[in-house]
């Protein structure tokens, strides 16, 4: 079991309030991702749940038990750090065994779990090495191994893939998602990378300046962002946000249209502009278009390889059913 509830949790460092009163429920078995720009308080929130930071006020409940005053070691949670935080003086085997040894588990049981963890994480050949002799990806696997052998009620991940190179990151992302599918244990994952958030989560919590902007499934956030911040943060490339005359035509202060919901033509269309940079990814082409009032440049995504030259005059047409409208406060208007 691992249902985590935050009730009016606040966190201040001195006189600076980094998290104003915040309420959040993470159901048992969920994969929740805290996402937001750096400094938004997502890591702090995770550390409050872990117990590594005290909440200034409010309550943290794990399975309906108030753990606000309980030390991290007694909360039954496991954490994977961005910097791996392995014990450099211990072998991989001893690193993984450490939490079990601290819990007073029998040697046989320890060995059984180490073997199982090493098998599932491809660490069998490295058990007798020290962390210093491993690559970044292997070290992060050891950190995950150390977390899973404890059978925690929830896993906490603090930007675990940030120190890895791009290719490795995609691989590890899949491994962690698969691990969640297999174990069905609650996981809370902090990242600033919205792609990680979209691909891994059942539930995304978008944070800005310590405030929850929206909570929902990845597709909910994609299709129905509650405000301009979420609209701009979720999705890659970013949603085009248009202000001024074009928005007023739609009776809104701002309208948003995702790059994939625009069509391009050199003959006719609604909005006229000129081609700037085109980014060819093979599968897609991102074209940046200048000269459209209220949004410069506007990005459009075309499937496959589309060839327009720099400076070409083109027309863009939005899919009318996919236009998001926002009022002057930036909130979504239906």
């Amino acid at each position: 079991m691992g249902r985590i509830v935050l009730e009016n949790v606040t966190k201040s460092f001195g006189s600076t309030e980094v998290i104003p009163p915040l309420n959040l429920t993470i159901e048992d078995g969920e994969f929740a991702v805290f996402v937001g720009p750096s400094g938004c308080g997502k890591s702090t929130l995770l550390r409050v749940i872990a117990g590594l930071e005290d909440a200034t006020s409010g309550k943290v409940l794990i399975d309906d038990e108030d753990v606000t005053e309980i030390s991290p070691s007694k909360r039954g949670l496991a954490m994977v750090f961005q910097t791996y935080a392995l014990y450099p003086h211990m072998s991989v085997r001893k690193n993984i065994a450490f939490p079990m040894r601290m819990a007073g588990m029998s040697e046989e049981e320890q060995e059984k779990r180490i073997t199982a963890a090493a098998n599932s994480l491809n660490l069998t050949d490295y058990l007798d090495r020290k962390p210093g002799q491993l690559s970044g990806g292997q070290r992060q696997r050891v950190a995950i191994g150390r977390a899973i052998v404890r059978d925690p009620s929830a896993f906490l991940f603090d930007e675990p893939l940030s120190n890895l190179d791009a290719a490795l990151r995609v691989g590890m992302r899949l491994e962690i998602t698969e691990m969640h599918e297999r174990m069905k244990t609650t996981m809370i994952y902090v990242t600033h990378d919205q792609v990680e958030a979209m691909t891994m989560a059942n539930k995304i919590v978008v944070l800005q300046a310590g405030v929850i902007e929206q909570v929902g499934s990845p597709l909910e956030l994609y299709h129905r962002p509650r405000n301009k911040f979420v609209a701009g943060f979720i999705g890659s490339p970013k949603m085009n946000l248009i202000e001024g005359a074009l928005a007023e035509e739609q009776a809104a202060h701002t309208i948003g249209i995702r790059p994939e919901h625009l069509s391009i033509s050199d003959k006719e269309g609604l909005w006229q502009g000129t081609v700037g940079v085109a980014e060819h990814l093979g599968s897609d082409t991102f074209i940046h278009i200048h000269g459209i009032e209220g949004c410069d440049p506007m990005t459009m995504r075309a499937a496959g390889d589309v060839s327009f030259n720099h400076g070409d005059r083109v027309y863009l047409t939005p899919d009318a059913t996919q236009i998001h409208k926002f009022d002057a406060q930036g909130l979504r208007v239906e």
């Binding site: 450099p88 601290m102 002799q133 491993l134």
Partner: protein, 277 residues
């Protein structure tokens, strides 16, 4: 390319010469001391016997027979070892708390501790003498150990604090998440990781305890007297008996020089490699 290589070669030679010069400068007094200790008191003051003299063990034999060198040496070992052990026993938890659980007052506290080293020892001579005598602790091992520990504690805590600060905080936090209590963090994670730093702190503390003279001379007479007291006792106001004094001094500093010589390599080691990134 060639020019750069050439000039750096001359630079290397220059640095080597400078290093040797500084090394010899520091070594010379010890060499002089040892040399003099093998001269008779009469030869010791004669300039013509500077390097050419008939070596004698008379001073050393005299020292062990007449002054009970071994008792003083044993006292030095006992007081220095225990003072170092106790200083570490107090200093490690203290520096741990300051490094990993700092509060707003931590920096001030560290500065204050260091400031106690700026107090002239003479300023507290009377209260200390009075206190030890009225508590019946004058000339006891216990008193010497406590005083040696206390005067070195600020340095010990500062050094340990500096070493502990080098350990990534996440490793300690990982320990907390893995279910260890505070004592477990210190024993299982902190001490093994900071082992090099703790060893050099211990060595330095031991050297300071061994060399301490102000208090050991004044708070002891015979029972707990250390080698500093033995040297002090052999110092003649007229400046005579140089050979004898040198032998006593050489025998007092000898063990600590040998210890430092053997430990120098072990002291330079870092264990935190590969912990993070």
């Amino acid at each position: 390319m060639a020019i750069v290589a050439q000039s750096s070669k001359y630079g290397d030679i220059g640095r080597a010469i400078l290093a040797w010069a500084v090394g010899l400068l520091f070594f010379f007094p010890i060499f002089w001391l040892v040399l003099t200790s093998f001269k008779t008191d009469a030869d010791a003051v004669k300039p013509e016997f500077l390097f050419f003299f008939t070596p004698t063990l008379e001073n050393y034999l005299n020292m062990t027979e007449n002054y009970d060198y071994w008792r003083f040496a044993t006292n030095s070992v006992i007081t220095s070892v225990f003072a170092t052990v106790f200083a570490l026993a107090v200093g490690i938890p203290c520096a741990y708390a300051m490094a990993f659980k700092p509060t707003r007052g931590t920096k001030d506290l560290l500065m204050w501790m260091l400031s106690t080293k700026m107090l002239p020892a003479a300023a507290v001579l009377y209260p200390m003498t009075f206190l030890t005598k009225s508590l019946g602790l004058f000339d006891t091992h216990f008193m010497v150990i406590v005083v040696l520990m206390l005067i070195n504690l600020p340095i010990v805590i500062w050094m340990l604090f500096t070493y502990f600060k080098e350990i990534p905080k996440e490793i300690i936090e990982a320990g907390q998440m893995d279910g260890v209590n505070t004592w477990g963090e210190i024993r299982e994670i902190l001490i093994p990781l900071a082992w090099g730093g703790i060893a050099s702190t211990a060595l330095l503390c031991f050297i300071f305890c061994w060399n301490e003279a102000y208090w050991t001379v004044r708070l002891t007479t015979t029972e707990a007297a250390t080698l500093s007291k033995l040297i002090e006792g052999n110092r003649a106001p007229e400046g005579l008996f140089f050979g004898r004094l040198s032998a006593v001094s050489a025998a007092a500093v000898g063990p600590i020089i040998v210890l430092g010589w053997f430990c120098q390599k072990q002291l330079v080691q870092g264990l935190t490699f590969g912990a993070v990134k």
